[in-house]
Amino acid sequence: MKRMLSLVLTLTMLLTLAAIAPAAAEQATTYPDGTVSIYCTGQPQFLQMYFDGWLERNRDIAPNVKIEMVQVETQAAGRQKISMDYLAGAYDDMPDAIYSDAVGIVDLASAGLLVDETEYYQAQASLFVDGAANDATIQGKVWGLPDSVRPQLLFYNAAIFEQYGIDPATMSTMEGYLEAGRQLKEKSNSEVYLSYVDPTTYTWRYWGRRGLMPQANARIWDEEGNVVIGSDEGAKLALTFLDTLNTEGLLYKTTMMSPPLYEATDNGQIATFYIGAFWDEFLRANLTATAGQWRAMSAPVFSEVGTAGAPVSNFLCVVNNGTNEYAGLIEKMWYDFHTDNESRKAWVNEMVEIGGAYSNPITLEMLADPFWQETAAFYGDTSFRKAEGDGLNNPSKNMTVTISDAEADTIISAEIEKYVAGEQTMEEAIANMDTELKNRIGQTQIP
């Protein structure tokens, strides 16, 4: 009996040890002292606040690790820094990760500068909204972990529409949007503009590539990579619509994200913004006189196409900087950011208080939380978060991104800028961009 009891006890101990061992081994994985460097556009200081808190909560695995969110002016600037460091062999100077869009991912992944996240992401994919990693997937491989998927929206000043007796619901279509602009112009004696137009590259970026072009199913390249922007019906629809808004004097000409734009908006001269959901943080941070008057709705649709704006996705990409010793830590940080609902909510509340930037979650469980439907005083006690979620219904397909798109953007934008300056008609601009793309790029590779 005693022998039997001893045997059972020994077996129990061995089984317990076997069960504990992997967990103990996992706990023992600590990351070396140092700094995790991450490149990010926009206002990364707010994101850093979340990750600093996360590191404090996880000192057992990263006792002396710091995080540094490095602000880069544009994603191209981030790519440039990484490329230059790589070229110079300065692998220590390369960041550990970069927040990037599809254009950047195509470029960096094809040069072997990103870590393949296919295996890691596929294990988590069921937690996320459908197609979250689509724009980071090239020939079946996932090169970036989805961070945000933000829709194209229509922000409008409800007080202006009320003052002039125009129903904002008419702006659910592009035709209605144009008509609203005409009425605003007429009823306000040309004091109120429907929206803005920027004389620099922002017009192509926000009205074109991320706005009207995907909504109109426009193409720069065909399936073989030939330039078709000059003959494409979608491109014609998108750019002609912008032309109509501009030539009818419905757009206030000023530089984006600059004091004159905010001043004109706060003075009630600009009634709407047709732009990505990211614009929320700029409105909240820069408008005071019109706070409470703003509302957000899904982007108007072209009746010929019927989809409501292409979402802009952003991805956290782990950089292949030799031996990226923090790759695992970055994956853990990313995972918790998208699954730890309570920490995320606490951070968002902090952002609301300080006027910081944040975006809606992209995991199914978080999205089910009523927190993401809450109202905000800036939006007159309506819910911007709900509008952002609704904006993802009926999305347009993003334009195909190729390795030549960074250069194509420069060429197309130059023609749009000359058009905005009044130096050529839109027809001439379309013809010129077609010619220049053919001259300078010719044919591209479709990934």
Binding site: S83, S413, E417
Partner: protein, 289 residues
């Protein structure tokens, strides 16, 4: 050769650090620029030899034509503006009638020590079409708003003004040092002979400053062909006020066409060499150097 090296080993040793740096950071990169100007390369993938196609591309690229024309305009306008302004200000600072000279000298030099990008951003606000101070002044005088930065007709003017404003202090100092080296006896003798201030300026000051002004012209030329910050910050529509250096930067680091950017660099070097050679030949013909 070895004998000479042995004989002058100490002088050679003393100038060695400069030449090592020159070799590593100027000569080798310049040669390498020339090499990759014959290739298609984005800095990351395999380099592909394409012969003269980067140079051929320049002939088809309207941005290159714009950039070349703009840079030539910046050069002429800046050279004239800077030399005139620095002559004027240096003469005023040199005048015996001016009080508080130290104060004025300090104030004059301030634009040069300000960061050019920061000043560019301030100029951008000043020349803003709807809310800029310059247009407000024009409006108060009964004029119309001018699209300084949004029209290719006007957008080079703010760039030129900013560049002249930034460079003038440095050249004022150089001209002032030249003025201080002119012996007062020339002016005394001219006064005795009955020459007025105007005649003294053209007959004494200007000829005596000849070499100084030539040096200023050569360096302003190099500075103007290298103009970047001003036109980058005060960018107009498309490439309408883009400089050659800016196009080079955009080609290399925005669209990652290193081969094309290198070809632009080679052209820039050749233009500067040509201008410098012509300038020196003219001065030599005049018997000044």
């Amino acid at each position: 050769m070895v004998k000479t090296l042995k004989k002058y080993k100490w002088p050679y040793l003393f100038i060695c650090p400069y030449f090592i740096l020159f070799l590593c950071f100027q000569l080798v990169p310049t040669v390498w620029t020339g090499v990759i100007s014959f290739a298609e390369w984005d800095g990351l993938r395999q380099l592909k030899w394409v012969g003269l196609s980067n140079y051929a591309m320049m002939l088809k690229d309207y941005m290159f034509v714009d950039a070349l024309r703009n840079t030539a305009l910046y050069w002429v306008a800046t050279a004239v503006g800077v030399l005139l302004c620095s002559m004027l200000i240096a003469n005023m600072l040199h005048s015996k009638k001016l009080g508080a000279k130290r104060f004025f000298k300090t104030v004059t030099f301030l634009p040069y020590v300000c960061a050019s990008v920061a000043m560019g951003l301030i100029f951008k606000m000043l020349f803003e079409e709807n809310a800029g101070l310059i247009n407000e002044i024009i409006l108060s005088l009964g004029g119309q708003r001018i699209p300084w930065l949004t029209s290719s007709r006007w957008d080079r003017i703010p760039v030129i003004i900013l560049h002249v404003w930034r460079l003038t202090p440095w050249y004022t100092l150089i001209v002032l040092s030249g003025l201080l080296n002119i012996s007062p006896e020339y002016y005394e003798a001219a006064t005795v002979d009955g020459a007025n201030a105007f005649q003294q300026f053209f007959s004494i000051t200007l000829p005596m400053l000849g070499n100084i002004l030539f040096f200023c012209f050569v360096t302003v030329t190099v500075d103007s062909w290298k103009i970047f910050n001003e036109s980058y910050v005060l960018a107009g529509p498309g490439s309408s006020n883009m400089s050659l250096f800016q196009l080079l930067y955009t080609s290399a680091f925005s669209t990652f066409k290193m081969g094309y950017a290198s070809a632009l660099g080679v052209v820039l070097i050749l233009i500067l060499l040509l201008i410098s050679v012509v300038q020196f030949m003219v001065r030599r013909k005049q018997g000044e150097i």
